[in-house]
């Protein structure tokens, strides 16, 4: 480029807040701040909003990248937090539909064969499990009673702004207190739930991706309750539909998103955020950063100079257990769901419900013992042309399983794994889909690392063992700020992973940052 031709396109301004990443948490944080009149800039390395919440087009198909269903959307008569956020608060132009059933759970091991169709509704859960496992009714009812108490306890936490009265907690929410430190398995055993009833009720476990012996009960119980009570919902235009709608609102509120812009450095001086620098040479002044990147990446790679990262922050990321990455086969089939004889949207296909065993299978580069599948047309009938359907098969992996893969063996490996998953799906559902593949893409951990710049491709955050689950994370809120002006938002945040959690966490981080800025302004 000749000198006189050079045009200055760098961003030089200062901003009240810079948000790093336009994933689910970054988007809701940016929108919330912009709506409240702050000058906010969101920097996103990809050329699309959403992070893993996106879509892509191949041939006649537009595929959803990662969403199976939102837990906190709900019908207009019983709005969940995400519907309230998108519809009432941000007033985004989005359209969601409820998926037809909770799930179809198929276990394939001969000695543990099961094929359970679960409808939404707490009563349906209780009745279905009772039908499958006579005598289980009381235990499943108890599960939901505790779950409701936990939900009420969270509402009380919110009302008291995180400073609950101990006496009230003990009196009103004893079961919440008494289960908060335990795993799902521990509590289910304590309420005398028969093993097979546990297996069915644990159907959703892969959404959080940690064995039931380690998964914190509180988190799982509220998620199951939310699905049972208000259903699972998905956007009719894939995740790209609502992420683009939030982007449009950010623009309308006077906020700004810059795509194709990677943050290289968060500049810190004397323990305080003072700015960011990007791959495009932008130098932006700000005293507040909300990072939608994981704390692991943020502390290890972004804070500059590294000497500004307190020891405690590094200890924290080392103490926590990094969650799972994933593997998805996206198939556009030239046969309709009806012709396949499948009316269900969501399938959980597991060899068995030994969640530790399935999790262990994700440590190896072999056909995994568990997958979660969707047929999008059974929720959004016109998502692909007549006579076709979109089948997604998702499984999970420990990132370590992929660490020695070389580029040369990569395509063969992912093709083989995809084939194994398709065969598993065919065997479990008694269908034949491989002859009907018109379009196919296979996303691996490296794909998620490529597009969303996720550390080790990890799209679930830190694992929710009880000591690091939602209750302790919410209880230390405000006390875990290691660098002044730095907050986090997203799946590695206080509400843990999943779309709804990440979005709600973004709002919370924005509110905390907003409160600090307003306080400062008051002082000044």
């Amino acid at each position: 480029m000749t000198e006189n031709n050079k045009q200055k396109i760098e961003i030089e301004d200062s901003y009240d807040v810079v948000v790093i990443g336009a994933g689910n948490g970054g988007l809701t944080a940016t929108a919330t701040l912009a709506q409240n009149g702050l000058k906010v800039l969101c920097l996103e390395q990809h050329n699309l909003p959403g992070g893993v919440a996106s879509s892509f087009v191949r041939g006649r198909f537009e595929f959803e990248t990662s969403l199976h269903e939102l837990a906190s959307y709900g019908p207009p008569s019983k709005k969940g937090s995400i519907r309230r956020l998108l519809e009432d608060k941000l007033k985004t132009d989005t359209n969601f539909v409820q998926v037809p059933e909770a799930f179809r759970l198929i276990t394939t091991d001969p000695e543990e064969k099961m094929d359970v169709f679960m409808q939404f509704g707490v009563e349906n859960f209780i009745d279905t499990i009772e039908k499958e496992v006579p005598g289980s009714r009381k235990s499943v009812e108890d599960f939901f009673k505790i779950a409701k108490e936990i939900e009420a306890a969270f509402a009380y936490f919110g009302k008291t702004k995180g400073n609950p009265d101990q006496g009230v907690l003990i009196k009103e929410f004893p079961n919440f207190l008494k289960t908060a430190a335990y795993s799902v398995s521990e509590v289910e055993v304590a309420i005398n739930m028969p093993k097979k009833a546990q297996d069915i009720l644990n159907g959703y476990w892969a959404y959080l991706g940690i064995p039931m012996s380690r998964m914190n009960f509180t988190l799982y119980a509220v998620m199951v309750l939310s699905f049972a009570e208000i259903g699972g919902w998905i956007p009719t235009n894939r995740s790209h539909g609502f992420t683009t709608a939030i982007d449009a609102k950010i623009h309308e509120f006077g906020g700004r998103i810059e795509y194709n812009t990677t943050v290289d450095k968060i500049l810190v001086e004397d323990g305080k955020v003072v700015g960011v620098e990007t791959s495009k040479g932008d130098k932006i002044q700000t005293n507040y950063v909300i990072s939608n990147a994981s704390p692991t990446l943020t502390y290890s790679k972004l804070i500059h100079p590294q000497s500004e990262v307190p020891e405690k922050a590094f200890k924290e990321i080392n103490a926590r257990i990094h969650g799972l990455t994933g593997f998805v086969v996206y198939a556009g089939l030239d046969i309709s769901a009806e012709e396949l004889g499948l009316t269900d949207y969501s399938f959980f296909i597991m060899n068995n419900m030994d969640t530790e065993g399935v999790y262990d299978s994700w440590r190896k580069l072999e056909a995994p013992n568990g997958l979660a599948c969707t047929i999008l047309n059974n929720a959004v009938p016109d998502c692909s042309p007549p006579g076709t359907c979109i089948l997604d098969l998702t499984t999970l992996f420990r990132p370590e399983a992929w660490k020695d893969v070389t580029p040369e063996e990569y395509i063969k490996l992912k093709t083989k794994l995809a084939e194994d998953l398709m065969i598993k799906f065919e065997q479990a559902t008694g269908t034949s889909v491989r002859d009907h593949i018109e379009e196919i893409e296979i996303a691996t951990p490296a794909t998620f690392a490529r597009y969303a710049h996720l550390f080790n491709g990890i799209f679930y955050g830190y694992e929710p063992e009880s000591w690091d689950s939602i209750v302790p994370r919410l209880m230390i809120m405000g006390k875990d700020v290691h660098i002044k002006g730095l907050e986090f938002a997203g799946g590695f945040g206080r509400r843990l992973h999943g779309y709804s959690s990440a979005m709600n966490d973004g709002v919370l981080s924005a509110q905390l940052t907003l409160a600090k800025i307003l306080k400062e302004r008051e002082k000044a």
Binding site: F56, T244, F314, A418, A449
Partner: protein, 410 residues
């Protein structure tokens, strides 16, 4: 109320005291775990390393060798530029392309070129791209005049979806190529021979001049050495043909039937747009399922005025585009018959682009105001992008004054 109290659950996991104690210990035990942990940063990220090897944002290359293929065609052998950070070349799938960046007269533009060499050669340190000099169009003339051994060329990683996928495609591949559209099939043929892909290739190759057939000897040799895997049929459209064992005219239904088992083949088409129009009509006569015919994106439409739904009344007009990029806002001229991408490149705004066919979405841009014409065959936008007024400048033409916001080049 009393009934509710009776029914009120009071569960015990271990014992009442232990359960409450476990709760009060949640935070202290978390603190203890953190205190015991390492205080080192976590820098090893092997999955991201793999992703970068497979999909580098940029590859800095240098021309190592130039081979004259025909009177109009050269093959450029590209190797990592030793003065750059590029040490190894990204592996790829035969049929994929590189988006090469060319700077001419101070303006940076991109062009997608299929990789003509097989993936194994990338591991040995080189790619080959074979380029035909076009009569019209300034770029290939510039390349002919300026690309020498030692010239540095900036490239994207391997891109595109025009490749054999064994889960989807029948293993009998029928390639239908025209002109320089043969280049991806050279990569595919070599990958078949060296075992990277397990398939057979019959290539129906249309050329317009018999002394300008690209890879003529090379394909003949491959066919001779691997007759069970590689077959080539030349179809010549010139008036006088002296070549033996070839077909004349165009690639018709009859020629396809003569050389291929239509019912057990996967068709891959790559060539100029006019060839697509013709071949697709011929293939249409077989009523094949959509999945059996795959097309490489053919790049920018050569003459947009030939599109029947293009608004002819704006054809001679030049519009203004108000462009927002980074902190810059600039008004630039744009000719109705040229893509918005070309206008952005002419204005030296270095916009992002890769496929130049509407397909990859890398140039995705927000249309704030105004209207563009989008060729229906190049419209690969997502549903929500249509709804919220995003478009792909490489496949869109200004038909009013515009205001747009484009992302900067990555």
């Amino acid at each position: 109320m009393s009934k509710e109290n009776e029914e009120r659950l009071n569960i015990t996991v271990k014992s009442n005291t232990k359960d409450l104690f476990a709760f009060t210990k949640l935070l202290p035990s978390r603190e203890k775990r953190i205190e015991r942990a390492s205080s080192e940063p976590i820098t090893e990220d092997l999955i991201t390393d793999l992703a970068r090897k497979l999909h580098p944002e940029r590859q800095f290359l240098v021309i190592d060798e130039i081979k004259e293929e025909t009177k109009s065609t050269k093959t450029f052998k590209l190797v990592p530029d030793p003065d750059s950070k590029t040490r190894e070349l990204a592996y790829f799938r035969p049929g994929q392309y590189l988006s090469l960046k060319v700077e001419l007269a101070g303006v940076r533009i991109t062009r997608p070129y299929s990789i003509a060499s097989p993936p194994k050669d990338a591991l040995r340190g080189f790619y080959e791209v074979t380029i035909r000099k076009e009569e019209e169009g300034f770029l290939t003339h510039f390349i002919w005049d300026n690309w020498k051994v030692g010239t540095k060329v900036e490239s994207s990683g391997p891109e595109g979806f025009f490749y054999f996928e064994r889960l989807r495609d029948l293993t009998q591949i029928v390639g239908i190529a025209g002109g320089s559209g043969i280049t991806p099939f050279r990569s595919i043929a070599k990958a078949i021979i060296n075992g990277t892909i397990d398939a057979q290739l019959t290539l129906l190759y249309g050329s317009s001049e018999e002394d300008d057939i690209i890879f003529y000897d090379e394909f003949n040799a491959m066919e001779k050495d691997y007759p069970d895997r590689i077959k080539i049929v030349h179809i010549l459209s010139c008036e006088v043909v002296s070549l033996k064992n070839c077909e004349t005219g165009f690639i018709t239904k009859e020629i396809i039937e003569k050389y291929c088992d239509v019912d057990s083949s996967a068709f891959f088409i790559c060539g100029p747009q006019v060839m697509y129009n013709f071949v697709e009509k011929e293939l249409g006569k077989f009523n094949l399922p959509v999945k059996r015919i795959r097309r490489e994106a053919f790049g920018e439409v050569k003459d947009i005025l030939t599109q029947p739904d293009f608004p002819q009344d704006v054809a001679a007009k030049t519009f203004k585009i108000k462009v927002h990029i980074g902190d810059l806002t600039k008004e630039i001229p744009a000719i109705a018959t040229e893509s918005v991408l070309i206008a952005l490149e002419r204005a030296n705004l270095n916009p992002p682009s890769k496929c130049r066919s509407g397909e990859c979405g890398f140039c995705r841009t927000h249309l704030i105001d105004g209207d563009v014409y989008i060729n229906p065959v190049s419209d690969w936008r997502k549903g929500a992008d249509k709804k919220f007024n995003y478009f792909h400048p490489c496949a869109s033409y200004p038909i009013t004054n515009l205001e747009i916001k484009i992302p900067r080049e990555i």
